[in-house]
């Protein structure tokens, strides 16, 4: 494939096995820096499994096994010498269901910096404010930072989770269907937020929502049953898909 972008992350014939079933089949894909890459495909095709390769979250799954390689810049992530903690600082993740900790809003955002050794109160205050501002959350929470995160609405909780990721200052942000549990207005806010963030971060978003991929991403990858079918600029994928299966899927003809 011709690449006319600078590459932030890339997978090289990566396969993932859950015990003996092969969930991902030798996928090679390059992720452009400072762009939003959408991963689309029907439910169960392996989008989440694929996304979790980029910060090695699959390590947590008992009996999951990986072959192939993923690179962050030039660093091979599946090298035995890699420090996974350090990797996850550089590649943050936002989950499908907003999952704030059962702590205050402040504690949630300060969690990352704290586990990475920052205990200075003034510094933490500064980080919390900056990350809330960047996650478009500050106005809504600035007077109740000590309240439980569960008091926030679903959309606010998801932006809190984004702020929490920003607080560890990652280079790449992975989002796994971040809007699937949210109402349309909250969804729009998160999409706007992604546009604001992409100048500083490389973003990969999994979505089952075709419109979302179409309007919010720069590049799109289409997956089917553990295979990568097509990857190109979003415009191209949506206007002139090369593969018949991609066309069927985005036009809604896919089963």
């Amino acid at each position: 494939m011709m690449l006319d972008f600078s590459v932030k992350m890339k997978t090289e014939s990566i396969s993932l096995f859950y015990d003996k079933t092969e969930a991902l089949k030798k996928i090679s894909l390059a992720i452009p820096a400072h762009q939003i890459t959408a991963i689309i495909g029907p439910s169960g095709c392996g989008k989440s499994s694929f996304l979790r390769l980029f910060n090695r979250m699959n390590d947590l799954i008992w009996k999951a096994r990986v072959t192939g390689q993923v690179y962050l810049d030039a660093v091979p992530l599946y090298d035995p010498k890699i420090d996974v903690v350090e990797l996850r600082k550089r590649v943050g993740m936002v989950f499908q269901k907003p999952n704030p900790f059962p702590m205050s809003i402040f504690e949630n955002i300060a969690f990352g910096p704290r586990v990475h050794g920052c205990h200075d109160k003034a510094k933490l205050d500064e980080i919390v404010e900056r990350c809330c501002l960047r996650a478009a959350l500050w106005d809504e929470v600035k007077d109740k930072l000590r309240d439980s995160a569960f008091a926030l609405s679903g959309g606010q909780q998801q932006r809190l989770c984004i702020a929490r990721v920003l607080a560890v200052d990652p280079e790449v942000i992975l989002l796994d269907e971040p809007c699937s549990a949210l109402d349309p207005a909250s969804t729009m806010r998160i999409e706007e937020l992604m546009q604001q963030l992409k100048s500083q971060y490389t973003i990969i978003i999994v979505t089952h929502n075709m419109q979302q991929a179409g309007r919010a991403s720069d590049y799109t990858a289409f997956m089917l049953m553990g295979d990568l079918i097509e990857f190109s600029s979003t415009k191209e994928v949506f206007t002139s898909p090369k593969d018949k299966r991609t066309e069927d899927y985005i036009t809604g003809r896919w089963g």
């Binding site: 059962p102 439980s148 990721v165």
Partner: protein, 328 residues
């Protein structure tokens, strides 16, 4: 978690008993309007059985309390309650007899505290290991073994303490006897460890995996995830496990009887031979004249024991309630 939710269930049950709103129109997930008439009556039967069980529990508990109080309280017509609790002279068969149980209260507290100091950190660490570090296979092997230990008759532990631990303690601290509070405390720790490990592990494993994933995804280490996310999220279950452990330790009779040394005086150090309330009651109740003063005094000691466990439970409940409200 299973057992930990007992108090909550009980509260719900009491709510129902008090005639508050019955919230079970979707019991077992079946809406009564959608369920067939047959299922509906089965559901009623189940509800009836649960209500009846609740009532029976309450009645039996009340009867036990009544028994304790009717047999024990009369002692306070001859012995002043203050000196009963706060003096250390225990001459149950002198004429006139003297009943001061402070030595035994202190003895019970000392061995129980020792047991907790040993069992809580070890128990919580072991449960965190099982829940988060051990592989599923290892967990499936270890957990049943620990639960089996919980069923070990305490007299067996008493023998182990007597034969194996007592000499070790005696030599280690250069004591005149190895049968003392420390030996008893260590053996009591063994008694409450399985409870603490098993219930804490349940509640750690019940922490939503979303919290765990969020922590790891932020670059937290295993240790940080356990300490900052899992344990705080599971603390009500862990607290409950500790409280149940305390309950077992305070109430344990055989082990303290066998290895605590049985001295009647007020213990100064944990390494002194001492007596706990349970052991004292067990030893003397057979010699006491039915309905006599000694008999009354022993029952009154039972009341003190009962109130102490009650206090532990109430405090635990208050703490848990406060935490529940904080992050509700």
């Amino acid at each position: 978690m299973r057992r930990a939710s007992g108090t909550e269930n009980q509260k719900k049950r009491e709510g129902r008993l008090a005639g508050k709103t019955v919230v079970e129109n979707s019991f077992f997930g079946i809406h009564p309007l959608l369920a067939s008439p047959k299922k509906f009556s089965k559901e009623n039967l189940i509800r009836w059985i649960i209500t009846a069980t609740g009532w029976i529990t309450v009645i039996i508990l009340t009867l036990i309390m009544l028994l304790l109080f009717t047999e024990g309280l009369p002692i306070f017509s001859t012995t002043n309650p203050f000196s009963f609790i706060f003096t250390t002279d225990w001459y149950p068969v002198s004429d006139p007899p003297v009943f001061g149980i402070l030595s035994f209260i202190v003895g019970s507290l000392m061995v129980t505290l020792t047991a907790l100091v040993i069992a809580v950190p070890i128990g919580v660490a072991a449960s965190a290991f099982l829940a988060e570090i051990a592989t599923p296979t290892l967990r499936e092997i270890i957990k049943p073994i620990i639960e089996l230990l919980a069923g070990l008759p305490s007299i067996v532990l008493g023998f182990i303490g007597f034969l194996l631990l007592a000499p070790v303690v005696q030599n280690a601290f250069h004591l005149s006897t190895g049968l003392n509070g420390l030996t008893a405390g260590i053996m009591l720790a063994f008694i409450c460890l399985p409870t603490i490990v098993s219930i804490s592990e349940d509640s750690l494993s019940a922490v939503p995996k979303e919290y765990k994933e969020a922590a790891y995804a932020l670059g937290a280490t295993k240790w940080q995830t356990i300490r900052r996310v899992l344990i705080p999220a599971a603390r009500s279950g862990i607290m409950a496990s500790v409280m149940l452990g305390v309950g077992r330790a305070i109430g344990e009779t055989m082990v303290v009887l066998m290895v605590a040394g049985g001295r009647l005086a007020l213990p100064n150090f944990i390494t002194d031979p001492l007596s706990a309330m349970t052991g004292r009651i067990a030893i003397e109740i057979n010699n006491a004249v039915f309905g006599g003063l000694q008999y009354q005094a022993l029952f009154a000691m039972g009341i003190v024991l009962f109130l102490m466990t009650l206090a532990v439970n109430i405090i635990a409940d208050l703490v848990l309630e406060k935490q529940r409200r904080r992050y509700a």
